[in-house]
Every structure is written in C-alpha cells, then in structure tokens.
Symmetry: C2
Subunit: 352 residues, 2 copies
C-alpha cells in the first residue's frame, strides 16, 4: 500500500489518512493544492519522504487545475502553488527538495506546450515517488547488515511505508532484516504527543509479523541501561551537512541514552533528506506545533491537563552528529566523520 | 489540603483520589487494610512520602479493626497487616520505612493494654504525617537557595503536596522560591504513562499561581539544548547509599540531557527515602506496572495502540549519582561525594 498516489478520476492526490490509524485504514482524495497543503500541515500525511512526494503530486494537481493558455502563465500558477505547498511544514527538507526536483526536471525537458508541461509534471511526481521506494529498499539492504539475529532495537516515531511512500527507512531496515530471517525484536517508542509509534509503527509491525512491544518514550533509557537493547534506529527530517540530524522530538534524548550505554545509534534516510545548505543542526528551523496536541490527546480530543493550561510543543529536535554511530542512506552506511562522504553521497543521489 | 488524614468517623484513612484530578477533587475513605493496600497499588494515592503516611495510617486502621484481646494477639494482626501493606508497591522505600518507624516507636513506648497500643499506633501515624510536612518545608528552604529570580526549571512527575502529605519536595522547593518572591517558570514534564505532570503538577502550580507550561517528556532535551533551562528538579522514590536515585521512569534520560548541557540536576526527598541497605541503584527493585497504562490512556481507558498490542511498563528508573549535581533533604543540600554525608543525614533524620 502506497502512502500517496495519483488518482486520475479526480484528479486528486489520494493519500492514506494517517490520523485515522490504527482504528481504520481510510483513503482521502485531496482535490486542490490548498487541500494538499492542509493535509500536510494537519498531518493527514506525515513522514519526510512521504510529504515530499505528496507535495510533488500537489504541484501536478495545481498544473492540472490551471487555466493558463501559455507556458509563462502556467509557470506563474505553478510558482504560486509551490509557495503554498512549501509553507505547509518548515522542518522536513524533502518537501522543498521534491518541489525543486520536479520543477527543474520539467524545465530541463523543455516542454513545448501547456499540455506537455502538465503531463511532464505528473510524470516527474510519479517518478519521484517510485524513486523513493527504490531508495528505501536500498536503505533497507545497507542497514540490515547492522542488525544481528536476536537483536532488540528501539525505534522512535514512525518511519515505515506510510512515512516514506512505501517500504520505509529505519523501519525498512528492520523489515529487511526480518525478511532475511533475522529475529528482530522492536521496543516501539510511543512518541508523544501524536503517538505515531503506538499508532502507526505498532500497526505496521503487526502487519509484518515482527515481534514488538510499545514503551513510553521515557522508558527507553531504562532498557538501554539494563543492557536489553543492541541498537537504536530512527529516521530523519533534515540532516545538516555535518551530519547533525533533525528528527521527531525525543530523538536527541534517545541518542544521549544510547551513547551513555554504548549502544549504536543509527539514523536512516534517503539523501533527499540532506540539506547541504544547513552547515549544522542549529540552523534547521524547528517547527513548534499547536499546544493542543500536548494538552489534548490528539486522537480523540480528550483533555488531559487542567482547563486553561498552556503547553510548549516543539515537533523536532536536533541530535548532534557526535552522538550518531552511523547514518544510513541509499548510498550505503556512512560512519564519522560524516561531512564529506555524506555530501558526496547526496550529490550522487541527486541526478543532474 | 492534606493528601491523607485519619477520619475518626469511619474510622477510615481518608485520601484525595489522585486519579480523579484535575477533573475533580474527590476524597475517598479507605475502610480496611485491604482497601488501603489496593489504594496504594492502583495509585489512588501515590508519591513516596504520601504512600508512607498512608501505610502508617493503614496500620493504625488494622489495629483499630482487630478483635485481639491480648497484646501478643494484636501484634499478630499488626504483622499480618504489615505484610499486606508492604507488598502493595515495591520501589518506594518510604512505605517500609514508615511501617518500621511506627511499629518500633509503639513497641518502645511499652503499651500496657490493647487499647493503649491501638491509640499509640494512631498517634505515631499522625506524628509521621506531621513530620513529613515539617521536613518538606525544610527541604523547600534548603532547595530554594539553588534557584535564582527568573529561572526556568524542568520538573518531572509530581512531587507536590499530594505526593508528600502536604507542601511537597521538589515542587516544595519551587513553591518556597515563589513565596520568597523569586519569579520561577516551570516546564512541566507531562510524565507518561499516567500523566502525573500534566494532571497533578500543572494543577498544583495553577493553584499556587506559579507560571508554567506543559511539555512532553521527550521535549525536555530540546529546551535544555537551546539554553532555556537553568535547573532540573525531581523527587525520589528510593535513594541508594551511594546517591543513585530511583525515581519515576524518565528521570534518567532527563538527567543525561541536563548533564550533557551543563544544567544542574537536583533530586529532593526526605531522608526517609534513603535506603542504606541498597549499596547502589542496581539493587533497587523496579516495579513493572500493567501494560494497559501504556496501551490505554489511563484517565479514560481510550485505546491508543492497535488491538492485541503488547507493552512494557517500568514505572521507575535509576539515575546514577554521577549525573546528579546535588541531593536536597531536610538536613540540607548534599553535594558529591554523596555517600558518607547522605548516610549521616539519614541517621540524624531517624530519631532513635
């Protein structure tokens, strides 16, 4: 099942509504670029590679809806759509990367008509989505070599198929190891406030038949300290040029606990997640989401705090590269020093 | 408002039902030693000093209910009650300490009749509860010196009046600083799975008019890393002789994040929380509570994970003394090396 597809009948960007899981698997058709941007912002769709692909299809949708009679007028509409999509969420760089790649490739193909440009945008969005899945499978193969039969791993947030178009990044590594016949046991960080671990990761692991137990994010340190964990695996939302990883809030504390207990800590992502323009993690914009996600349980809106309470809700944090054992991309397993090799892989991963 | 009191009308041990807050403040009368033990186990009452006092009143209740006609028969009933109370929760040592203290003092008072022994048990339970409050106020005065005007502090779990008979330990320090006119801003760890921070700490801070915001436990690292926090304050459920602190799960990861960012980390508790028989944290029994607390939101039972999911749920973890800047007891502020000074304070804190 793909997290995002083109629905020609709409036309629409058809997505799996990640807010409804695990209660039900529901598809939603996003019928305009505004609906696509809102679906990214309200986390109907989430996961860095998935929101990149959703944005790319959103651009194709905007082009389809355009009444432009000439190519320059079409590019005006596409540029407006880009601005709308680009501002939907600030931290994951894949969103900007996907919009850049699709736009650049269509320009380079020198379409000679409005119809040809519209068709090329859709083709490139589809190709981008397909490429992400192929990359995930390569990430899985590279990363699975890091896991041994019988390992217990801690996984934070959700990095499975729904987060990465299909197959998954960090969870794809666990999946590949499992498919290779290794017995892997997963301690699933529930991942407050939106519970992506308890809701999505546990659901995907259940579908795949991989042994797992859910833990609170705070309990990870206890299991690491007791020697019950052989590896920690997370994804990434934006990776700086020096290897600092911006990822779901809680990743940093998990990395500290892994390092303190000499347990290897891996972050897995396609090279589209690397931002060569961010020198280090301090320059990654960290989204602060609505306080309501903390004060109410987002799945049903039940309040958990006294009426009138306030909250702070950073959605991501930065894990300094010094705490990371290796980064895993489709190009391979990168060990410190990350900088040059990571940028080289990133350049290679970006077709001209 | 006291977390626990003797209700002569029952007679009963009257407690504030901490599971109902912040929705409502409800008192419950626990009418037998079995009800008292259950109230501790199901966390109607929680917080190390509070459960010590509740257990002490539970012993007085068992004595009151006894039909024993002689002192030896009464001690048989009291011994049975002790075993029931003692097994209600394993980690907080205050429970055993309170039962020991009350029993020993009554024995030492050499009661000459069953009635006199029953009366002495109640007197000693009341004295223990009163002593805890007096100690908390001393902890508050010692600890408040560690906070400066304008400080932002992170607080984990709940250590306020309800957790410590009255006034509070770590939260008592914040309260004292506030009463001294210092502006203290609290980032309240919500404290999964039972949300004692979001439910109880936020409620007490609201009552006291102390500025605060609720954060997920995972977000603490982000705020520490950004330099927005000047101190971290927690309580303790059992402190080993070397200063290792067993406390609510998540404390260890918080201490790691504080240490990594050179932010002082303080644990505050009455000396009744020190267990001289535990050489270090590894020998503290860590309670594993029901998986349902993680899989369902305990306040309303709403499921958050796929049906059939399993969970692990350690209620506490151990913070090695190396990560702790200072321990605060009623005897003062103890800095490393903790061992000898801490044991000396503990001995002084235990009247013969």
């Amino acid at each position: 099942m793909r997290a995002v597809e083109w629905n020609p009948a709409g036309p629409a960007v058809r997505v799996v509504d990640q807010r409804r899981l695990p209660a039900s698997v529901e598809h939603r058709d996003l019928l305009s670029v505004q609906e696509v941007a809102l679906g990214i912002a309200d986390m109907t769709v989430r996961g860095a590679p998935t929101i990149g692909a959703v944005a790319a299809f959103g651009l194709a949708l905007a082009a389809h809806a355009s009444n432009a009679s000439t190519l320059p007028l079409l590019w005006d509409d596409i540029t407006r759509a880009r601005l709308i999509l680009q501002s939907s969420r600030p931290t994951a760089v894949n969103l900007v990367w996907a919009l850049d790649r699709v736009t650049r490739r269509v320009i380079e193909s020198r379409p000679t008509s409005v119809a040809a440009a519209k068709a090329a945008l859709l083709t490139e969005a589809q190709r981008l989505a397909d490429d992400e899945v192929a990359r995930n499978q390569r990430i899985g193969r590279h990363g699975a070599a890091l896991l041994a039969d019988g390992d217990t791993v801690i996984h934070h947030c959700h990095t499975g198929g729904l987060a990465a178009v299909d197959y998954g990044t960090a969870l794809g590594i666990i999946r590949t190891a499992h498919e290779q016949g290794k017995r892997v046991h997963v301690l699933v960080d529930e991942t407050r406030p939106r519970l992506q671990g308890a809701r999505l990761t546990a659901w995907e692991l259940q579908q795949l038949g991989i042994a797992h137990e859910i833990i609170t994010d705070s309990a990870a340190g206890h299991f690491l300290q007791r020697g019950e964990v052989q590896a920690v695996l997370v994804g990434a939302d934006r990776v700086a040029a020096n290897g600092d990883v911006a990822n779901k809030v809680g990743t940093y504390m998990l990395a500290l606990a892994a390092a303190a207990n000499h347990v290897p800590f891996y972050s897995a992502f396609p090279t589209s997640t690397v931002d060569p323009e961010c020198a280090d993690g301090a320059s990654v914009p960290i989204e602060e989401r609505p306080a309501d996600e903390v004060l109410h349980l987002s799945i049903d809106g039940q309040p958990i705090a006294p009426a009138g309470s306030r909250a702070r809700n950073p959605a991501f944090d930065v894990t300094p590269h010094e705490l990371i054992t290796a980064l895993v991309t489709e190009a391979g397993v990168h060990r410190p020093p990350f900088g040059p090799a990571l940028l080289q892989a990133t350049i290679e991963g970006r077709p001209a």
